[in-house]
Symmetry: D2
Subunit: 277 residues, 4 copies
């Protein structure tokens, strides 16, 4: 059973699927260890891991290698954040061929214009015309080889400030075009936009959300709203930065790394995660 097939199986369950972001093999292994259902190969985390802006300058090749590296060392499905699809329909078909061949279970493309900028940046966002984006979704679906491969269409209607009606209209259009899951992104402080959306969403296509700004909304609450997939998209990277920053300033200040076992696992623990036992 492929990982894509396993992802489809989970989608049939009554429980919400919990997906957590990662940026390399190790973080992916830790997502699996914590028993999440899938790994989000996060565009933000991967570009941040490179130390580069999340503005379409990291290439498909680099994102793909990061996702494949995660896949290589874990056994749960990988959902790859593929930004805008890196160009037009041809680029989307090409990426689907690559990601599916690398055993990625699902890809997610969003309706912003290439080159994009991260959704949580201040400033306005421009969306692609609906017709152009549905054409990308159709291209993605036509390029997959196995029926199990999952294509997620993400609408940034709320992010762009276009409101509920546009969000719904885009979501319906993307579902009609063949998207297997619709990701509705929101940067509201609470889950109100998501709640309003879910109240009016009647189409039998699962909905995914990313509670970054409305971080206190629980999995349980989202499930009660009817959400099918919840993605903790960037918390892992944010925790690694906090941890290294704290430890590095500590070492610099104290002149040694001793006595901070509370901040670190042991070297033996790293070996164990690397499979060196």
């Amino acid at each position: 059973m492929t990982k894509a097939a396993r992802l489809r199986e989970s989608l049939k369950s009554e429980n919400i699927i919990r997906v957590t972001g990662a940026h390399n093999g190790m973080s992916a292994k830790l997502v699996e260890e914590a028993e999440f259902e899938a790994i989000w190969a996060s565009g933000l985390e991967i570009s941040a891991a490179y130390g580069l802006p999340d503005t379409s300058i990291v290439t498909m090749t680099e994102f793909l290698e990061a996702a494949a590296q995660m896949e290589f060392v874990t056994s749960i499905p990988i959902i790859a954040d593929c930004d805008t699809g890196y160009g037009d329909e041809c680029n989307v078909m090409h990426l689907v061929k690559h990601y599916e061949r690398r055993h990625i279970a699902a890809i997610c493309i969003e309706d912003k214009v290439f080159p994009k900028i991260n959704s949580f940046m201040r400033g306005s966002q421009t969306l692609e015309p609906i017709g152009r984006f549905t054409s990308k979704i159709r291209a993605a679906k036509s390029a997959q080889q196995s029926p199990d491969f999952v294509v997620i269409a993400r609408t940034e209607a709320f992010i762009a400030g276009l409101g509920l009606d546009v969000a719904l209209m885009r979501a319906y259009a993307y579902a009609e075009a063949g998207a297997d899951i619709i990701l509705v992104h929101s940067k509201a402080k609470t889950a109100t936009e998501i709640a309003q959306f879910m109240k009016r969403w009647t189409y039998p296509v699962p909905i995914a959300v990313v509670p970054t700004t409305y971080a206190s909304t629980t999995t349980q609450e989202l499930q009660e709203l009817g959400v099918n997939v919840v993605i903790y998209a960037n918390q892992g990277m944010r925790a690694t930065v906090k941890a290294m920053r704290t430890l590095f300033s500590d070492i610099a200040r104290c002149g040694h790394a001793g006595g901070r076992e509370d901040l670190m696992v042991s070297v033996q623990e790293i070996f164990s995660l690397q499979g060196m036992d």
Copy 2:
């Protein structure tokens, strides 16, 4: 002024050089932010980041890309941990050509046999005959283009349990062969092996150490022993694992990521580190 030249400048200073391990662009940026003098492109951290064992299965290409990714986004020198040199003299010359061309300031090769296993693993280690290893050092020195490029020879004599005399003999031979710095590795619980070594080391070639097991020995103490370079080789990775493990289990348990700002930096902070301001 190249980064290699800057590293040589620092070596002339009376102060010990503090070098901290990293495994990708972001961790390298945080090492620079904490004002260490150089970045250690750590073999253990990079293989762990891949989620793979530190046993010579990660290739030179993969280690090089990780080091170059660090170099691309930072302005302090990178010292690359190159394991055993990935083969014989030809492999060493090839790696020097690659690393120098990618603006890495220094490479470090160790006197274990390829394929190697991490020095902190239980079990015995086999060292290369001295003549074979000095031949690699000479190969490395002959391959560099700029006189500023730094070649570090690392002896695992203490790790292999061969004692002080062998450690000194190997260190002298490596210095004679042209090594610019000798890294004396030890997994003793205290810095005694290092202290004994330093007492007898009279050759005018700088010494580097890696206080992983003797973690409470301070920079100040090492400097008083005459050590020139201290490398905090793996603490960053160990902190990221601890941080993600704690946070992921928290999210899994609580059903949300809210209220754990103590464990994470903000998304805006990530943007700032990515240069997205």
Copy 3:
């Protein structure tokens, strides 16, 4: 002296610079062996070598690796064909930083819209507004570290059927924006478009041309027109395809590869080119 500096030196000479396309280390070595002045890391050749369309689906990472591979094994300057710059000004600045760091002497960007399609394809081409493209040129120039690095702006005005006046207007605008060389592309059967352009070009910025369709126009004739750089952009790849196709059908037909030494160099000759002597 860097390769970029050497390329600038050649541009000062009275003789036209002859540049020949390559797609990997070996073809680059053969360009150098034939004593051309520089190597064109051709977008068409590299995408063809991948077996992929020349339509912006091969990524910057892949093109960069191919160019860097050429640079690694040769000693003459590499001029890298960078299509449209792979996005907007940010992408262009990012590519300049990458290519310059990889010791590429020059990059060339063209005024088509991303994702682009090869200039010799039937069908129409859309050009970027002049203001957007000059903004890319300025971004490229601002990103280079050494004053020697060369930025080539390529206008597809003739390819898009826009005529001499538009070609000149664009060329002037690009030169004013800081381009070090203007590449005037033409797919006319003879060099007439180029001749007309050169007659009216008075600006002190060198002109490069690509005689693919007007293949019989000689270096001498182009030099007399005032052209400074001639690029044989794709002939190498076209020769390799012809050669392999002929030989493979021969082997398939005859059931052996013997007696066709006229079509092949010896294995020893390959060794010699690989530096295995």
Copy 4:
């Protein structure tokens, strides 16, 4: 049906399987176009394409990417030449996991010592002890996921001048250890070594040969000897070098590329091979 399964199917046929070497996507496409049964991702061709020696300095990562690039654009099985396995049993298991995941149908490892040197080089070759090499074969077989994946063990006994008995003894040991095909390499001017071997080979494991030096021996003759797989391992690269060398010196001499259509396919032909129609 996977490509590995298709390769196994072909092995059941009465006809010898003809495999031809390639070094990138385009050459692989031309092998398929000429209707060979499989593609040899040749170590010699790939290292030569990089412009680098065939002496274990090109890494597994680089060889794997080249093979995967071939696989991505063709539909016949890829057999990957994996030199000595790039290290010990761990390296072999790691490579099998990587190659199988990249849809390569078969890998081939040889019984020389790492780092190796090409078999056609003058000078002596050292073979691994039989026990060490059979241990690698067992490691390879234990690492594959699908029973269809094919592991080829190559003996260099003839190359090392060890004679028929050693060749047979090694071949039997490798077959007993689980190798799916035995490749018997020879650099004799005629197929006599192969003929002698085949006369005494009675084990039900297929035999592959590489007629580089005995190039005039036909497929038909090899089939009559009982050989199951014939590999034209390096002729494609040798033809590309001859073709580019001829054409480049022609362009340099004549000052133009016109009138040499006999040496090149058209640009349109390249487009067609790239799938740009």
